[in-house]
């Protein structure tokens, strides 16, 4: 594959200089090619007409399960709730030992220790949201401390939010610096940067925020907190997949993508996997590079898995709540 230059009109050979000053960063981001809303949505709609059957479906269902960040992010979360969720993560389908494990359990920082303990020896990661999730409206010092707390408690992955206010008012340097600071505070933990695309509104903004996060050191770019509607959508994810694909063409680096919020059915999950396959490419069909932020999705995947194996439709009573 021929190397593809960075964005049309960006006129940048490499990316080294892009972040050397706020002005350059700004010019780079504003120089990224536009996204036509109608065209992007039409492409996402066409991809979602793919019909995934039999062996392909079985493959997709198991892969989707392995890509789940099983999530609870509620004010009412307790150690009890997290313990239950971790048990579910370890053995999603008590009736079927062939059902794979999920990728991670995602919780608030104060419950990281509980999750870490419950998941010990399982290979399942603990992901923690941080940085004054979900609004991100506090000082950088607090966000850094929030991140350090999570990592200290054992978080393998940190899901941070960007400062949407700063982004929308064009203070890209500030957003960049904040991500860099959190990147540093997170140490070896995998950093997922939540763009909260529902607040960025336009696909042009989604593309710019994706590049901004990748340039600042994100391991993953993530659509949403799940607290803002709309959360993940197919076209938003399409634009982000295009961004990681283009970033890879430029740098050789693989950045992951995580749609989160609103993905509840197997049918939806498979549409995402088709989109990953045909946009970023098969490399990204890997829990290392693609995740679903979800909770109820898991049971639907298990239900479809059972249907595929037995030929009979199942019901919710046959799967555990958590």
């Amino acid at each position: 594959m021929t190397t593809i230059d960075s964005g049309v009109g960006a006129g940048v050979d490499g990316l080294a200089d892009v972040t050397s000053s706020e002005d350059r960063l700004r010019r780079f981001l504003l120089g990224l090619p536009g996204v036509d809303q109608v065209g992007a949505e039409a492409r996402a709609a066409t991809l979602s007409t793919r019909s995934i059957k039999t062996t392909a479906k079985a493959y997709a269902l198991d892969l989707a399960i392995q890509m789940i960040d099983l999530t609870t992010l509620e004010g009412q979360d307790t150690p009890g709730k997290v313990r239950a969720l971790c048990a579910k993560a370890r053995r999603p389908d008590p009736a079927d030992s062939t059902a794979p494990q999920v990728a991670a359990v995602c919780v608030y920082p104060d419950l990281v220790a509980t999750a870490k303990y419950e998941l010990r020896g399982s290979g399942i990661n603990v992901a923690s949201v941080a940085t004054a999730f979900p609004s991100g409206r506090s000082s950088l010092a607090i966000k850094v401390q929030d991140t350090k707390d999570a990592v200290a408690a054992g978080a393998d992955e940190v899901d941070m939010v960007i400062d949407r206010g700063a982004f929308l008012s064009g203070r890209y340097g500030m957003v960049f610096d904040e991500i860099t600071a959190i990147r540093e505070a997170a140490g070896d933990a995998h950093l997922k940067v939540i763009l909260e695309t529902g607040e960025l509104v336009t696909y042009d903004n989604v593309r710019r925020a994706s590049w901004l996060a990748m340039l600042a050191g994100a391991d993953f770019i993530k659509t949403s907190t799940g607290k803002v509607s709309p959360a993940a959508t197919l076209p938003v994810t399409l634009v982000m997949l295009e961004a990681v694909r283009d970033y890879h063409e430029n740098t050789g680096l693989h950045i992951g993508v995580k749609p989160a919020g609103g993905i509840r059915t197997s049918k939806d999950a498979i549409k995402y996997l088709v989109m990953v396959n045909e946009t970023a490419g098969p490399d990204w069909l890997d829990p290392e590079l693609f995740r679903f932020g979800a909770s109820s999705l898991l049971n639907d995947l298990l239900m479809q898995r059972t249907k595929l194996a037995t030929g009979n439709y199942s019901g919710p009573d046959y799967f555990t709540l958590d």
Binding site: D36, Q37, V38, G39
Partner: protein, 297 residues
């Protein structure tokens, strides 16, 4: 009441200065490249003029001139084209007596009948002038497609139009075929009435002095039967009006020749030049262009 000067009668016995009747091509008045001319008489057979008899090469040159003028004329604002057409009416009004005398001579009419034909011709230019900036609103559209697209259709000039002008009606008929073609931005190559070309030559002089860019209207005096086939088969002519062809077999042959590059063809038909023209000659030389664009943020 507008004041007009009362002219004294001309001095009796003065030897008048006669005009050489030439073609009008690309804004200039050349003789036919063939060097040919033919005798034009009045309705009673009395000598009027030696008109240039245009050849196929004159037709070729006229098409080149018309094509050259097309880009500029078709992209002028409709308002501007309307003003230019109105200017033609203004300048014709100033030559009312001349046109009346020429029409009377050509068609064998009383001067008062000829005057009413000149009146109608001038009024027709005014009528068409007003269409310039209304046409798109009447024949264009905004199309409510079932999707997030803005979609509109607008009329555009077809290109170079060959007009074989009526043989009988030397000015009103001529005006009625030229005006609707050029008002929308087409450029024209006109072959005049063979026997009655004089008012057309004067109309060329009007064009030359009415802000009509050179090449927009090109006037060839001569035989439509001789020049017509060259225009009908010319690949850089986009449309043809066969109005001046009276023989059905000839019209059929010209239409068949015009099919070579899918010219828009207007077949000869019974015409009442005094009747309200309607839109059909206007829309004859229009293309509809439809433009789509997504609506999104």
């Amino acid at each position: 009441m507008v004041w007009r000067p009362t002219l004294p009668t001309r001095e009796p016995g003065r030897l008048d200065v006669r005009k050489t009747y030439k073609l009008y091509v690309g804004g200039a008045f050349p003789r036919s490249e063939s060097g040919r001319s033919y005798v034009v008489t009045n309705a009673k057979g009395k000598f009027l003029a030696n008109a240039s008899q245009a050849s196929r090469k004159d037709a070729r040159d006229a098409v080149v001139a018309a094509r050259k003028a097309f880009g500029g004329w078709s992209t002028r604002t409709a308002y501007n084209r309307g003003q230019v057409l109105y200017r033609i009416a203004e300048v014709m009004e100033g030559r009312h007596d001349q046109f009346s005398a020429e029409v009377a001579a050509a068609e064998g009419l009383s001067i008062s009948k000829a005057r009413s034909l000149v009146d109608a011709s001038i009024d027709r230019w005014v009528w068409y002038a007003g269409w310039a900036d209304k046409l798109a609103q009447v024949v264009g559209s905004s199309n409510p497609v079932a999707g997030p697209y803005f979609d509109f259709s607008l009329p555009e000039a077809t290109g170079v139009v060959a007009l074989l002008a009526p043989q009988d009606d030397s000015l009103l008929g001529l005006t009625s075929v030229i005006a609707p073609a050029i008002v929308s931005g087409n450029t024209a190559v006109v072959v005049t009435s063979f026997e009655r070309p004089v008012p057309a030559i004067t109309l060329g002089e009007v064009m030359a002095t009415s802000d009509v860019p050179g090449g927009v209207v090109n006037i060839l005096t001569g035989s439509a039967s001789e020049i017509g086939p060259w225009l009908a088969s010319h690949l850089d002519v986009n449309a043809i009006d066969l109005c001046g062809i009276e023989d059905p077999d000839e019209a059929r042959e010209l239409e068949a020749a015009a099919a070579e590059n899918l010219k828009r063809v207007r077949r000869p038909a019974e015409e009442d030049w005094f009747a309200s023209p309607g839109l059909s000659r206007l829309t004859q030389y229009l293309e509809t262009k439809t433009v789509w664009h997504p609506i999104g943020v």
